[in-house]
Amino acid sequence: MSFSFRRLAFAALVAAVAAPLPVRAADVNLLNVSYDPTRELYVAVNKAFGEKYKAETGKTIEFKQSHGGSGKQARSVIDGLEADVVTLALAYDIDAIADKGLLSPEWQKRLPDNSSPYTSTIVFLVRKGNPKGIKDWNDLIKPGVKVITPNPKTSGGARWNYLAAWAYALKQPGGSPATAKAFVADIYKNVPVLDTGARGSTVTFTERGVGDVLLAWENEAFLSKKEFGDDKFDIVVPSISILAEPPVAVVDKVVDRKGTRAVAESYLKFLYTKEGQEIAAQNFYRPRDPEVAKKYDNVFPKLDLVTVDDPAFGGWRNAQKTHFADGGVFDQIYSN
């Protein structure tokens, strides 16, 4: 036989052994498990912090990033993804990790501003010229308006979208939890597809051209305009929205095992420095620092912002239980 099996088997073996495994050349490895729209933000943050750390300590850091729907990412960390830090879309997802004992239940008090170095909100991204005339939340329930938003079960942004819509309905004359539920249900009737993460929804809307309005993170809406050009999309700011506080935390169990606590902590603290705040603002996240915020004042529109700690929601644990847990309001709405 002209084709030797032994030679083939040998070649396969050599290939398997010789295929280089991921090499770790840097002094420190840091894995940041984050939610969907922060990809560009953390590319910039990692570069800046890496240079600063190198200048101060002489050591190089190899940053690893993982992005996906916030809930899905939390699940991965719970299942063993070795995140030194988590930078997720909402506090509940880090609570869920804390519930499994991977970090202190008091994690949110360890850093200023509820451990949220930047904030964002939910706005509408519509096609140029706003052909469907979408001005506010009540325009989303009109027949024939296709609304794009991800799945609140897996996406943090989707949960903020949902709560923002709920807050709007509550503030309307005669608003009650019952009317809010009906209103939010009407919005989801207009949703043709639920992606698992915010970026998936953005791509559905911008690249695949599905839908009339995208319920988007403010930073994601700005980024879409930047990526695709101002002549493609308009941002519509609704009368009321939610103050989204994406939190950050060091995962105690992981950093203690890997010995990376010090660098992980200074990484997160870097987000609060003037430099970190500038980077956040340049990536369209609302900075916390008053000075930096003032500088970017003209970028971010002012609007009435409700927080999740509003009595209507009672914090993330409550909101999660009422709305997004199994059999919660979202399930009741979506199964009908």
Binding site: M1, F3, F5, A9, A12, L13, A15, A16, A19, P20, L21, P22, L31, V33, D36, R39, E40, K64, Q65, S66, H67, G68, S76, I78, D79, G80, L81, E82, K100, R199, G200, V203, E207, E227
Partner: protein
């Protein structure tokens, strides 16, 4: 796909291989349809192939080169892309090696021996084809994840399986297991055990019988199975996505890297990597065609 055909009944692989050896009867003789019908059927087949297979594939390459050669090259030498290529090749090598050996063992056991539970084993060979890839990934998370059966033990001993390359390899092996076994079983069933029995009677050892009789008899079917297995191992998305953790530069295979680039508005780079993956598929296809041509000349065994 022919590989999904049930084991019992026609041994499709053999039939398929033999089809090429028998001199084909002149087509005019066995088809009496009017010329028009024939033209329509052929046109339909070509149109379908063009529209649904070739056009999308061609589009991958058009998009990949939409910003020229330089951008194409840059997308491929990006460190994260290179890491994805390396990981994909490593995973494919491990899966193909494992499944070749285990596929041979499985086919050998099923076709040459009688034992209780044999029919169950035959059914189980097909299981990975009928289970959704997502579940294939999830079972390993439930076994080896931090909250899974063996998770805590693995963590205590510093072993990483899920969200590292061993988990990706496990999931890929699971998904691609049937390819080799499904190619071999019908063929070896048809060949029976007479040749082996003759060899043993003549004094050959078991191992020698395997090397000199069984293996040469099935080598082309085996290679065919290996090719299919390799193609799927490189392209698998669902199962790998569940166990990967999506750490770029570390646990992203090529299919996952393509999705990430696409989601980061790097459409051209995404298609560049996709074109590389498609190219690997084309190479596999070419190898398969060569193999079949060779098979036709030499006759299945």
């Amino acid at each position: 796909m022919s590989v999904i055909a049930p084991t019992e009944g026609v041994p499709y692989a053999v039939e398929h291989f033999h089809a090429a050896t028998a001199p084909p009867p002149p087509l005019e003789d066995i088809h009496s349809e009017p010329r028009l019908v024939r033209a329509v059927v052929i046109a339909l087949a070509i149109l379908f192939m063009g529209l649904f297979i070739l056009l999308p594939l061609a589009n991958v390459f058009v998009q990949a080169f939409s910003k020229g050669w330089a951008a194409y090259g840059a997308a491929l030498v990006d460190p994260d892309a290179l890491a994805a290529v390396r990981l994909t090749l490593l995973i494919a090598a491990i899966s193909v090696a494992t499944n070749t050996v285990m596929g041979l063992v499985m086919a050998w056991a099923i076709t040459k021996f009688e034992f209780t539970g044999k029919s169950l084993l035959i059914t189980l060979v097909d299981l990975p084809f009928s289970v959704s890839p997502v579940i294939a990934g999830l079972v390993f998370v439930l076994l080896f994840g931090a909250q899974g059966w063996f998770g805590p033990w693995l963590i205590d001993h510093g072993w990483k399986i899920i969200f590292a390359w061993p988990g990706i390899a496990l999931a890929t092996i699971f998904v691609t297991f049937p390819f080799v076994a499904r190619e071999l079983i019908p063929l070896m069933q048809e060949q029976g055990t007479q040749e082996e029995e003759a060899a043993v009677t003549l004094g050959a050892s078991g191992w020698r019988t395997f090397l000199k009789v069984t293996l040469p008899n099935v080598k082309w079917a085996l290679l065919y199975g290996v090719l299919l297995c390799n193609a799927r191992a490189m392209g698998e998305f669902g199962a790998v996505s569940v166990v990967s953790g999506h750490v770029r530069g570390e646990t992203n295979t090529m299919p996952l890297h393509i999705e990430i680039l696409y989601n980061e508005y790097q459409f051209q780079a995404s298609f560049a990597v996709a074109s590389l993956l498609a190219l690997l598929a084309v190479v596999t296809l070419l190898a398969k065609t060569l193999l079949e041509a060779r098979l036709g000349r030499k006759g299945g065994h």
